[in-house]
């Protein structure tokens, strides 16, 4: 009986010691939930170019273009025509200004034909998503 009581006290003491660790972990968890951004898996393979642009944007729905010319929209590969069809099926107009999250290594030979296709869909402006450049101009 005496021994059991002793073990119980020991366990209680060990749990009490864990409380600050759990508190700290909860705080860290909250920090990551509130401050961090989630991105789709395919987006991690697309590294936007660096720029010194001062226009800060929130990561929103954007057409994505990988370095091999694959166009992505909402976690699926697509073509500009299919993208426009999908928008229209949802009752949304094709915007005249779009956000394009393209990989910095995508060659011009893949970007320019895409711009031509977007022009046919009445897209007049493209906002390229970039990340902060380490170098200043």
């Amino acid at each position: 009986m005496f021994n059991l009581g002793g073990e119980h006290d020991k366990k209680k003491q060990s749990d009490d010691n864990m409380l600050p660790v759990i508190n700290m972990t909860f705080l860290l968890l909250l920090f990551f939930i509130v401050v961090g951004n989630f991105s789709e898996t395919y987006m991690k393979e697309i590294a936007p170019p660096d720029s010194s642009s001062e226009i800060l944007i929130q990561p929103a729905e954007a057409l994505s273009l990988s370095a091999d010319g694959q166009l992505w929209w909402r976690d699926e590969t697509t073509t500009p025509v299919n993208w426009a069809t999908q928008l229209q099926a949802e009752g949304l107009p094709v915007p005249s200004r779009i956000s394009l999250r393209a990989d910095g290594q995508t060659p011009a030979a893949l970007i320019i034909p895409l711009l031509d296709e977007l022009r046919l869909l009445k897209v007049t402006r493209v906002a390229l998503v970039t990340v902060t450049s380490p170098e200043q101009y």
């Binding site: 749990d15 759990i22 390229l128």
Partner: protein, 133 residues
């Protein structure tokens, strides 16, 4: 009083270890999955026709862009790093439409760097075209 003390004892017996385990797993998940990248944007106009710039009657400047950041502008060969000083010497107006004519293998990063330098010299009206057009 006795009942309250008994209830408190019963609560204290719940082990915190599974809770701590779960919170640690969640923490590791969020550390690995979240990103703190700040996204910015660089906007440009899509030309009206593939072989024609939509700059109307205004002033325009054509810059040919080659791999490695080599430029050909108004009969001069330049490195991308020298574009800012070249533009500064020429003093173009803000309404000037700049046509970036890119060779097929030029990566987007080079074009964005060129657009950065143009914007820094107050030339935000940029269009991208193929070099062959």
């Amino acid at each position: 009083m006795h009942l309250q003390s008994h209830h408190r004892k019963a609560l204290r017996r719940i082990s915190l270890t599974p809770l701590a385990d779960l919170v640690f797993i969640l923490l590791v998940f969020f550390i690995l999955e979240t990103s703190f990248t700040e996204y910015r944007e660089v906007a440009f106009r899509v030309p009206d026709e593939p072989s024609k710039a939509s700059h109307g009657e205004g002033e325009s400047l054509t810059i040919q862009v080659f791999p490695g950041g080599k430029l050909w502008v108004e009969g001069e060969s330049l490195a991308l790093a020298d574009l800012s000083s070249w533009l500064l010497r020429r003093q173009f107006s803000e309404d000037t439409v700049v046509l970036l004519k890119a060779a097929d293998s030029v990566p987007l990063q080079i074009l964005v760097e060129a657009m950065d330098r143009l914007r820094a010299q107050s030339l935000p009206r940029v269009q991208i075209q193929a070099l062959g057009d």
